[in-house]
């Protein structure tokens, strides 16, 4: 039942995505202006009219951001982390991909490997709504989710990314990320960042308890050699909370700690 619901959500999201990105229908047969058609070939004019309108506001482009590509010390259990996103599309409809990867050097495997494919559309001046699917490729916890989220710029320049996830088994979880950019100089920027994860019900097999499950707070100081290319250093504190922490301890894991980080922020 839950499986079926999930697939219908995912299918629906894909359909919306496909129809949103497909080119618009052929132009209305009544052209908005046509006086030059009397002097030039109307077919050529119609083509030029379509082109001039599309070119002025209807272009599509792409964006790729590696917000965090970093090495984390993680109390002697070092990690390589990638947190990035990219999009392709126009002002109203975009296909967004988000990914978060955590590679554990000691264990020699991915601790976390997540990919989201989302359809993005503006819902307010500074906010977009996002809907689609997420898949976790992590060994032993391979799961798929439906995603509904919002991403944008809150008052006072907080960058917010919040999403609700429903797994194939019907488990509901949520994540909220907030970032702020404090300009120390024109190129030296301090970025405080926080991420909170919540779960509605416990899922013991993946070590998640209900309620606030994990919290992460960090600050990264980057230098924008170019706006698109900025090395940084920082510190990140993360830990499991409540029931999730209990589950971690029961597994003999550390519920969390402080990590020093060094990395690159890139976009193009």
């Amino acid at each position: 039942m839950a499986q079926a619901t999930f697939f219908s959500i995912a299918g629906g999201a894909c359909f919306i995505l496909a129809s949103a990105i497909a080119p618009a229908k052929a132009a209305d047969p009544t052209p908005p202006w046509s006086q030059a058609d009397e002097y030039y070939d109307p077919t050529e004019m119609a083509e030029a009219r379509r082109a001039v309108q599309k070119e002025h506001g209807g272009n599509t482009m792409y964006y790729v951001l590696a917000d965090r590509l970093e090495y984390q010390t993680d109390d002697g259990d070092p990690l390589l982390l990638f947190d990035g996103q990219g999009w392709w599309g126009g002002d109203m409809n975009k296909l967004t991909l988000k990914s978060e990867l955590e590679y554990d050097f000691n264990a020699g495997r991915f601790h976390e490997a997540e990919l989201q494919a989302l359809w993005t559309r503006p819902i307010a001046r500074y906010f977009d709504v996002q809907a689609g699917v997420r898949h976790d490729f992590t060994a032993g916890a391979d799961r798929t989710f439906g995603v509904l989220g919002v991403q944008g710029l809150a008052p006072y320049w907080f960058e917010i990314d919040a999403a609700l996830f429903v797994s194939g088994e019907g488990d509901v979880s949520a994540r909220i990320e907030a970032e702020y950019e404090l300009m120390l100089t024109q190129r030296l920027i301090l970025q405080p960042r926080t991420e909170l994860n919540f779960a509605v019900q416990s899922i013991e097999e993946v070590g998640v308890g209900s309620g606030l499950s994990t919290a992460e707070v960090g600050a990264r100081l980057r230098y924008e050699i170019k706006r698109q290319f900025a090395p940084y250093v920082g510190v990140s504190w993360s830990r499991s909370i409540g029931e999730t922490a209990d589950l971690a301890r029961a597994d003999g894991d550390d519920p969390g700690g402080v990590s020093f980080v060094a990395g690159l922020r890139l976009w193009f």
């Binding site: 209305d28 009544t30 908005p32 202006w33 046509s34 006086q35 030059a36 058609d37 009397e38 002097y39 030039y40 070939d41 050529e44 004019m45 083509e47 030029a48 009219r49 379509r50 082109a51 001039v52 309108q53 599309k54 070119e55 002025h56 506001g57 209807g58 272009n59 482009m61 964006y63 002002d91 109203m92 503006p122 819902i123 307010a124 001046r125 500074y126 710029l153 008052p155 006072y156 320049w157 404090l182 300009m183 120390l184 100089t185 024109q186 190129r187 706006r227 698109q228 976009w267």
Partner: protein
């Protein structure tokens, strides 16, 4: 989009290098390369080739799209009323076009692809033929893609059929522009992805500390909270800055030092054209007062000033008369003051004037948000007594809230709740300079306005955008989503009011007609083709719908237009049928007689000379 590969090949092949000192056209050369500021008439038949060229700017090699191989292109100089033939050959591998900015040509010769003609295909030659009933300083540029940013522009001088009321001993054309070594589409894409990508003058912690010192902690926090709440930045003045641009005068960077020479006692006419893609300039010649004699090609009553802000696509003609034999710097500083270009005006060709230091960057205020009346601020020392009539309604009448009957949504980040008329202000950052700065309200047409009828119809158009998303539009609708043009009916007199809901200065250009800027209700309003609409500004122009056709109407900041801030004005024939039935009016304008386009006003002026009656005017908005 032109091919990057092709672009590079043109450079690698070496080709013809239009170096700053060498192969520029005579008018653009420096004095040391032989330009003594006297030009010959160029004729009435021109062959223009649009192609890829390598250029050298400040000793650095770049790739350009050029007209006849140089940046800027050749000067087209001809006489008022003469029939011209201009053959434009396209050597690019993409479509091109030439638009004759400010020239009253038949609309099908106006050169806007998809609006007035189909464009010029690769390898094709298009022949423009027209005669214009006007004289003065104008320019031409591509209206295709972002070619203008890549170098596709040049000056036009039209000499009067009769005597020129402006006399001079010598004259120079000064074409101001912004050059990028990066591909224009790359520059646009970066701005679209991160609107602050080129802004290196943002407010930092250091500014916070110094503001606390100046204004106290409470006031500083309140100020930061206000901007933060709106998610806008007071330093957001130019989308593209000196971080990407090398500013040019006649194709010369400051390092290339363009030099114009003079003899003391001479009256020298400078024809200044802002051919930039994205840069509004502050123009001054420190130590030398300038007498403005023409604006946008048309004569104005002489007015002396020390500095003026020139929007993209505007032109000003000034007379200078240096009394001392010394080198003066000619300074064009970008509105955000991230950079400038300095040329030399000197008695000898090999002199270099001392460049002034860049001045401190200006910041935006409440008034720029369109909240002038709400914030209870005074109006920048405006003389309300001198500005009767039109200026009295809206925000000026004491805080009436602006109506917004246009589309909003994700593409509109702000609406000006209480905009103010800012024609009597010199422009952002020039309010408090220690010398005279030109205001539109100082401009008076030299000739009486040809049509002094009171407007019979009014319409309001809002300049809208979302800075963060880099979406720009009129009335909240991007050009890509426009379904209906703006309709003018032949013969009618309109008052168009522009309300700037954004926090940027937009140079708004209407093709095919001059409009009378409503600085007062006299019959000597300045007549322009482009007007700088300041942030939070509400201004009006009156226009006579004379030249039937479809005309482009857009912000002349190239990237704003590219992002959607464009519309079409369909000027429909008087006895024509509905716009949806093309062909019905065919015979009426097929053989358009350009003689009837005379601006001399012999017929128009007799219509009505009494001052307009405001009580009859509908001040409501119309969309």
């Amino acid at each position: 989009m032109y091919s990057r590969r092709r672009f590079l090949r043109a450079g690698a092949a070496g080709g013809v290098i239009a170096s700053a000192t060498g192969l520029l056209p005579a008018w653009a050369k420096s004095a040391s390369a032989g330009n003594k500021g006297i030009f010959e008439l160029a004729g009435n038949s021109f062959d223009l080739t649009v192609g890829h060229s390598a250029v050298e700017i400040g000793k650095r090699r770049g790739h350009a799209i050029t007209v006849n191989g140089t940046v800027p292109g050749p000067l087209l100089r001809f006489r008022e009323g003469e029939k011209l033939t201009l053959r434009v050959r396209n050597m690019l591998d993409e479509d091109t076009s030439i638009h004759w900015h400010g020239l009253l040509v038949p609309f099908y010769m106006d050169g806007v692809p998809g609006v007035s003609f189909p464009g010029i295909k690769p390898g094709a030659t298009f022949t423009y033929e027209y005669a214009v009933p006007q004289y003065g300083t104008y320019w031409y540029h591509s209206h295709s893609g972002l070619q203008e940013q890549a170098g596709h522009y040049g000056p036009i001088i039209i000499d009067p059929a009769g005597a020129d009321p402006v006399t001079s001993d010598r004259e120079y054309v000064l074409v101001l522009s912004d050059w990028s070594f990066d591909h224009p589409h790359k520059v646009f894409a970066r701005v679209k992805k991160d609107m602050e990508v080129y802004n290196f003058q943002q407010r930092t912690i250091g500014d916070f500390v110094s503001d606390v010192g100046k204004n106290g902690l409470g006031a500083t926090l309140e100020d930061r909270a206000m901007w933060g709440q709106m998610r806008m930045s007071p330093t957001d003045i130019s989308d593209v800055t000196a971080a990407a641009y090398t500013y040019l005068i006649n194709g010369h960077s400051t390092a290339d030092n363009w030099t114009g020479i003079f003899n003391t006692g001479e009256r020298v006419r400078l024809r200044i054209i802002n051919a930039s893609a994205m840069t509004i300039f502050n123009f001054r010649i420190p130590g030398l007062p300038m007498t403005v004699v023409a604006a946008d090609g048309l004569n104005v009553q002489p007015v002396e000033t020390d500095e003026f802000q020139i929007g993209v696509a505007e032109t000003y003609d000034v007379i200078v008369a240096p009394k001392r034999a010394r080198a003066f710097p000619i300074v064009a500083e970008s509105i955000d003051r991230s950079g400038q270009v300095v040329a030399t005006f000197a008695p000898e060709p090999d002199m270099r004037a001392t460049a002034p230091l860049l001045r401190e960057r200006p910041t935006l205020t409440h008034k720029d948000m369109g909240m002038a009346a709400m914030a209870g601020m005074n109006h920048g020392g405006m003389d309300h007594g001198a500005m009767t009539g039109e200026m009295d309604h809206g925000a000026m009448s004491g805080g009436a809230m602006q109506e917004h009957n246009h589309k909003t949504g994700a593409g509109v980040d702000n609406v000006a709740m209480a905009p103010s008329n800012r024609l009597d202000e010199p422009g952002l950052g020039l309010e408090d300079v220690p010398h005279r700065a030109l205001r539109y309200s100082q401009l008076r047409s030299l000739d009486p306005n040809p049509d002094t009828r009171a407007p019979e119809r009014e319409m309001e158009i809002h300049l809208t955008g979302n800075m963060e998303r880099y979406m720009w539009s009129f009335d909240g609708v991007k050009f890509s989503a426009v379904e209906k043009p703006i309709i003018f009916h032949e013969g009618e007199r309109l008052r168009v009011t522009l309300v700037n809901d954004t926090m940027m200065t937009h140079p708004i250009h209407l093709h095919g007609m001059f409009f009378d800027l409503v600085v007062d209700e006299s019959d000597h309003k300045p007549r322009k083709h482009t007007v700088n609409v300041k942030p939070g500004d509400k201004l009006s122009f009156d226009v006579s719908a004379e030249h039937v056709g479809d005309w482009a109407f857009h912000c002349h900041l190239l990237f704003h237009m590219h992002a959607g801030m464009m519309q079409v004005v369909s000027l429909l024939p008087r006895d024509g049928a509905a716009p949806t039935v093309p062909g019905a009016t065919k015979e009426d304008h097929k053989g358009m007689d350009h003689g009837s386009m005379k601006m001399s006003g012999e017929t128009m002026q007799t219509r009505e000379t009494s001052s307009p009656d405001h009580s009859k005017m509908n001040h409501g908005s119309e969309h």
